[in-house]
Amino acid sequence: MSAPLVVLQDLTIRAPGRLLVEGVEVVVEPGRVTALVGPSGSGKSLTARALMGVLDVAPGLERGSLRYPALDPSKDWYDGVRGGGPRAQARLLEATRALRGAYLSYSPQAASSALNPGRTVGQQVALAVGRRASPPASLGAEVTRLLRAVGLDPRTAAALPGELSGGQCQRAALAIAVAPAPRLVIADEPETGLDPVLRRAVTELLVEVVQSHGAGLLLISHHHDTVSRIAGAVVRLRPPAGAPEEL
C-alpha cells in the first residue's frame, strides 16, 4: 500500500466575519479518483486550492494540517501558517510552488480564460511538459501525443486559445494539466459548459490519463452521473453555518 498523495485535515478558513470552510477532510490515494461535491458556496474550489497550498483570503487559515505523505510523511505544510495571515500564506505559496508540475497539477474551472491568450496551445503544452522531473526525448512528439490523447488534432498546437471552441479549450487545459506527468491532478469542474457527450469524453479521458501512470485525481463535479461512475471516494461539503444565502 503506497502512501496517500495528500491528506488534508480539519481545514478551517475564515473570511472577515464568517467561516468559508470548517473541518474539511480530504485524502487522495494514488490510482484513485476522489470526488469533491457540494452546493455553490460550500467551498469546493477553495478546498482544492488550499490542498495545493494556495490560500488567498484574509484572515485565512485558522485550523488544519496539510501533508503530502508520498513526498514526506512527517511534514505539515500548514505549520507556521495557521493564524499567520496573508504573509504566512504567501510564504506557503512560495514553498509549495516547487511541487507544481511534477508532483501536482491543477486544471481550473474556466479553461478558456485560464489559457494564455497570447501563446499557442502547443507552446503552453510544451511549457508544461518542461516541468517534468525527466524531460522526454522529443518535446514536439510529446506535445503531439498529449494533444492526441485529449482528442485534439495535433494541428491545434499552432492555434491560439481564441481560435478554439470552448470544448477544445477545455481539452487543451486538460492536456496542460497532465503534461507534467503529475502524481496528483486536481480538476475543478472540467466538464463545465460541455454538452453531455463531450462531458463524458473529457471525464473518461481525465481518468484514463491520470490512472495510466498511477496518479491520483481530485475531481470537483456537479454531475451526479459522472461522480457515481468514476469516483472511488466522495467528499461532500456543506456551506458552514452562517454562510450568506446568495441569490
Binding site: S40, T192, D195, R200, H222, H224
Partner: protein, 333 residues
C-alpha cells in the same frame, strides 16, 4: 384557434465555404437541413443537441437575425423570413432573445432599473413614468426588488441573468428564444433562472429553450427536438417518452453505451457509422438516404430512423430497452 407562435417549414441554411485556394470550388455546408416544427401559444419547447448541431442557427433564423437559404418561417401566422428590416422592425419587440453571456449583454454603467426602463421606453414606447412602474414590477417579480440600483458588476451571475430576463419579459413578448440562458452558472442556480423565465412568461407566449443540458429540457419542456447535423432526429416528451434514436439515447444518458467514435457521415444518416441499429436495416438504406421523422405508433414521439427497433410501439420498446429516466430527475449535485 390561434396560429402557432412559431412555425418553420423545411428550413434550410447553407453556408458557402471557400476552398484552400482562391480558385478552388466553393463548398456549401448545411448548418440546417430541412427542419420543421411549430410552437403553440403557451408552449415551452427545447432544441437540444451538441455544439455544432445547428440549434443556435435555427434560433437565430427564427428571430430574423439570419436569413434561411430555404424553407419558410411564420411568426403568429405571418410570413417572417425574407422580409426587409423595415417590415420586421415593428414586430421585433414581440420576439425576444435571452443571450448566453449576461454580463456582456448588460451595459456596465446602467443599473438594473435603468436597463429595464430604457428598454421599455425605446422598444416598448412607454412614457418614463409608466416604464419606471413596469420595470419595478417585473424586477420585483424576478426577486430583484432589493437590487434595483445595482450595477452589473455588483451582481452575482444569477442576478445578472435575471436582469436580462426582466428586460425581455417587461416587453410582454409573444416569443422568447433563450440560447443556453444558464451557461456559466453553477448547477444549483440554473433551476432558479429557468423558473424565473418560464414562470413569468406572459400568458399565451411561447418559449424556445436552446440547451445542451438534458436535465433542463426534462424539467421545463414537454416537447424536445433533438438536433444532429442540422436536422431534427427525434421529437419527444422527455417526461413521458424514452429517447429512441440511438444518438438521442447517448445525448440523454451519455454513460448508457459507447460514445460515438466516428465522424458524422456526409451521406445517408449522419449517425450511421456509430449506430448500433444500422446493421439491422436491410439493403444499406442508412447509407443511401436520410431517414425522415416517423411517428412512433401510440405516442406523439417521432424518430428519424429506419430501424424497426427504434419505431416499435411504445410498450415493446420500453420492455426491450433503456430505463425511462436515466438516473435521477436532475443529474446535478
Amino acid at each position: 384557434m390561434s396560429p402557432p407562435v412559431v412555425e418553420v417549414r423545411r428550413l434550410e441554411k447553407l453556408f458557402e465555404q471557400a476552398g484552400p485556394f482562391p480558385w478552388s470550388p466553393r463548398r456549401s455546408v448545411g448548418a440546417v437541413q430541412g427542419v420543421d416544427f411549430a410552437v403553440a401559444p403557451g408552449e415551452v419547447v427545447a432544441l437540444v443537441g451538441q455544439s455544432g448541431s445547428g440549434k443556435t442557427t435555427v434560433s437565430r433564423i427564427v428571430l430574423g437575425l439570419e436569413e434561411p437559404t430555404g424553407g419558410e418561417v411564420l411568426l403568429e401566422g405571418e410570413r417572417w423570413d425574407g422580409l426587409p428590416e423595415s417590415g420586421r422592425r415593428p414586430r421585433r419587440p414581440r420576439y425576444q432573445y435571452v443571450p448566453q453571456d449576461a454580463m456582456a449583454a448588460l451595459d456596465p454603467q446602467q443599473t438594473a432599473l435603468e436597463t429595464v426602463e430604457e428598454t421599455l421606453r425605446t422598444l416598448g414606447g412607454l412614457s418614463a413614468a409608466d416604464a419606471a412602474a413596469r420595470a419595478r414590477d417585473i424586477l420585483g417579480r424576478l426577486g430583484l426588488g432589493a437590487r434595483l440600483h445595482a450595477l452589473p458588476r455588483e451582481m452575482s451571475g444569477g442576478e445578472q441573468r435575471r436582469v436580462t430576463l426582466a428586460r425581455v419579459l417587461a416587453l410582454e413578448p409573444r416569443l422568447v428564444v433563450a440560447d443556453e440562458p444558464t451557461s456559466g452558472l453553477d448547477a444549483d442556480r440554473r433551476g432558479a433562472v429557468l423558473e424565473a423565465l418560464v414562470g413569468n412568461l406572459p400568458a399565451g407566449a411561447a418559449c424556445i429553450l436552446v440547451t445542451h443540458d438534458m436535465s433542463e429540457a426534462r424539467d421545463w419542456c414537454r416537447r424536445v427536438y433533438v438536433m444532429l447535423a442540422g436536422r431534427v432526429i427525434e421529437e419527444l416528451d422527455p417526461r413521458a417518452d424514452t429517447p429512441r434514436h440511438p444518438y438521442a439515447r447517448i445525448l440523454f444518458d451519455p454513460w448508457s453505451g459507447p460514445l460515438p467514435a466516428h465522424p458524422l457521415s456526409a451521406e445517408g444518416c449522419p449517425f450511421r457509422l456509430d449506430c448500433p441499429l444500422a446493421a439491422s436495416v436491410p439493403d444499406g438504406r442508412c447509407a443511401r438516404s436520410v431517414p425522415a421523422l416517423t411517428p412512433v405508433p401510440g405516442s406523439a414521439q417521432r424518430v428519424a430512423c429506419f430501424a424497426e427497433a427504434a419505431l416499435a410501439p411504445a410498450s415493446a420498446a420500453d420492455s426491450a430497452g433503456s430505463p425511462r429516466h436515466a438516473g435521477p430527475a436532475s443529474d446535478t449535485l
